[in-house]
């Protein structure tokens, strides 16, 4: 990190307001609805809650190169995360800051490790770069979703130190 930053001048975006509190408003007018609708609202509440929980799991991960979070660099946005709780499935689509970013696999690895540590084991997680945003998109995607290579990478102390450093702010 001393010499040759991959992206020396990244654009920094403002952090979004935390929206955790917006979820309960879904049920505010529960008195006005039929029981069947209320069930639907509850289901929606659960989905929104899960969604925000997921987002808060990963939005504060630090960029490997810069003292900013992935959210501030717009590497991930709220749209980046798709959750299907019924099928225990999560897909995260992230956008590297530049299309030749050699840190893309490290960022993807951080996302995967964060979710592995936060979610129940039953979850299947797919991580990918946003279509068209990286020069070696399919190679990055293939590597990030090869669990054997991920397992081997996570036995490499240097890589684990790097990942832990990026993840540290996300545990705050």
């Amino acid at each position: 990190m001393v010499s040759g930053l991959i992206n020396a001048n990244p654009v920094i975006y403002e952090k979004k307001e935390r929206r955790v509190r917006s979820a309960p408003s879904v049920g505010d007018d529960e008195h006005a609805v039929e029981p069947i609708d209320q069930l639907e609202l509850e289901a929606r509440f659960v989905r929104v809650f899960i969604f925000l929980t997921f987002l808060n799991h990963i939005r504060d991960i630090k960029d490997p190169e810069h003292p900013y979070s992935l959210e501030e660099l717009k590497v991930i946005t709220e749209d980046a995360i798709e959750v299907d709780d019924n099928h225990s499935y999560v897909r995260v689509t992230f956008t590297p800051t530049v299309e030749h970013c050699s840190m893309a696999t490290v960022i993807g690895l951080c996302l995967r490790v964060k979710l592995m540590r936060s979610l129940p084991q039953r979850y299947k997680v797919d991580i990918r770069v946003a279509p068209g945003t990286h020069a070696t998109e399919s190679a990055v995607n293939k590597q990030l979703n090869d669990k054997e290579r991920v397992a081997a990478a996570l036995e490499n102390p240097n890589l684990v130190d790097m990942v832990d450093e990026c993840l540290a702010p996300s545990y705050a």
């Binding site: 084991q121 979703n145 669990k147 290579r149 081997a152």
Partner: protein, 346 residues
């Protein structure tokens, strides 16, 4: 641990717990499972250990007989018994392969094979037990000759794969080696009579002049297995398909190394996530439907599936159909399926 009872029903008979991390692979001891010799299997794990399991004849329950530890310093990815069942080879992410000998019921590490640059992914013995093959993330396949006194000599380093090699497997009767890789191909290796080993065929290589381009896998090939006769092979992949390949085994026996394997059919639409493991049963049942044996697949969707050759559509050539699917066979990804020497498998 499940039992196939012949009526297309699956019964889970026991869950073997003991490893503290993901179990990557397992292997049945081929010399066990006879009337006075209870079945034994080995399992290896991300917890850096190997466990040896044995069935108690009286109550048919399995127990852990030995834990092989403090030798590998990282994940043990693969294990394989020698054909005589005396030796167990274990391949590790620590770049070594260890050879264990059963000495009076205790397993001792009698040899360590070094040479690969990084993670060893798989180990396989040939049919006679005279050769051992290993493969690695370093893209190479190594062939080791078994010498007297538990010495192992590297006789060949095979280069040809352009990526991480996931699995090596010897042909069940011939000294022909198969490897599958992250580069989407399966390669066939044979000795030319002077001691030199070469790649004699590459299945699925991206070469527009070969038909195999049309039939090869489009993503990582994780595993392969042979039918009992050795004239058919099944491969499984991250592209969510199983592929069946066929050769003229008579031609192979007559010493023609160039006998090629041809794509027979592709089983697609059955799996939802990566297929990590596939194994072909060597036993036959009375039903004419599965005289070719049953193909079992284990995938990242936690499901276990069985396929048999379908005799209904001979017009279009051989095809295979789904016999049985067990959803949630495990809580997580299924990393390995292996038919036992009798009728059991895990």
């Amino acid at each position: 641990e499940e039992l196939y009872d012949g009526n297309m029903e699956l019964k889970e008979i026991q869950t073997l717990a003991g490893h503290s991390d993901r179990v990557w692979s397992l292997a049945w001891n081929p010399a066990t499972g006879t009337s006075n010799n209870p079945p034994v299997l080995a399992s290896c794990s991300g917890d850096k250990t190997v466990r040896i399991w044995e069935q108690t004849p009286s109550n048919r329950l399995w127990h852990c007989k030995a834990v092989l530890e403090e030798t590998h310093t990282r994940t043990v990815r693969s294990c394989a018994w020698s054909p005589c069942g005396k030796l167990l080879a274990t391949a590790s992410f620590d770049a070594t392969t260890a050879i264990w000998e059963n000495i009076g019921g205790d397993f001792e590490c009698v040899s360590t094979l070094e040479g690969h640059e990084n993670e060893v992914k798989c180990v396989s013995w040939n049919a006679s037990g005279s050769l051992l093959a290993t493969c690695s993330r370093d893209k190479t396949v190594w062939i080791w000759e078994v010498m007297p006194g538990n010495e192992f000599e590297c006789v060949s380093v095979l280069q040809g794969h352009t990526q991480d090699v996931k699995m090596v497997k010897w042909h069940p009767t011939m000294d022909v080696l198969f490897s599958c890789s992250y580069d989407n191909t399966v390669k066939v290796w044979a000795e030319d009579g002077t001691g030199d080993w070469h790649c004699v065929q590459s299945l699925g290589e991206s070469n527009k002049y070969y038909l195999s381009l049309l039939s090869g896998h489009s993503s990582t090939v994780w595993a392969l297995a042979f039918n009992a006769e050795g004239n058919r092979m099944v491969t499984c992949s991250d592209d969510l398909t199983l592929k069946i390949w066929e050769t003229d085994v008579g031609g192979m026996q007559s010493g023609n190394d160039l006998v090629s394997w041809n794509h027979l059919c592709t089983l697609s639409g059955y799996h939802d996530r990566t297929i990590f493991s596939v194994h072909w049963s060597s036993f036959y049942t009375s039903s004419h439907l599965n005289r070719e044996g049953i193909i079992a697949s284990g995938a990242a969707d936690d499901a276990l599936r069985f396929f048999v050759e379908s005799k209904d559509e001979l017009v279009d050539g051989p095809s295979y159909k789904l016999l049985l699917k067990r959803e949630k066979a495990h809580e997580m990804d299924i990393n390995s399926v292996q038919w036992g020497p009798g009728v059991r498998f895990v």
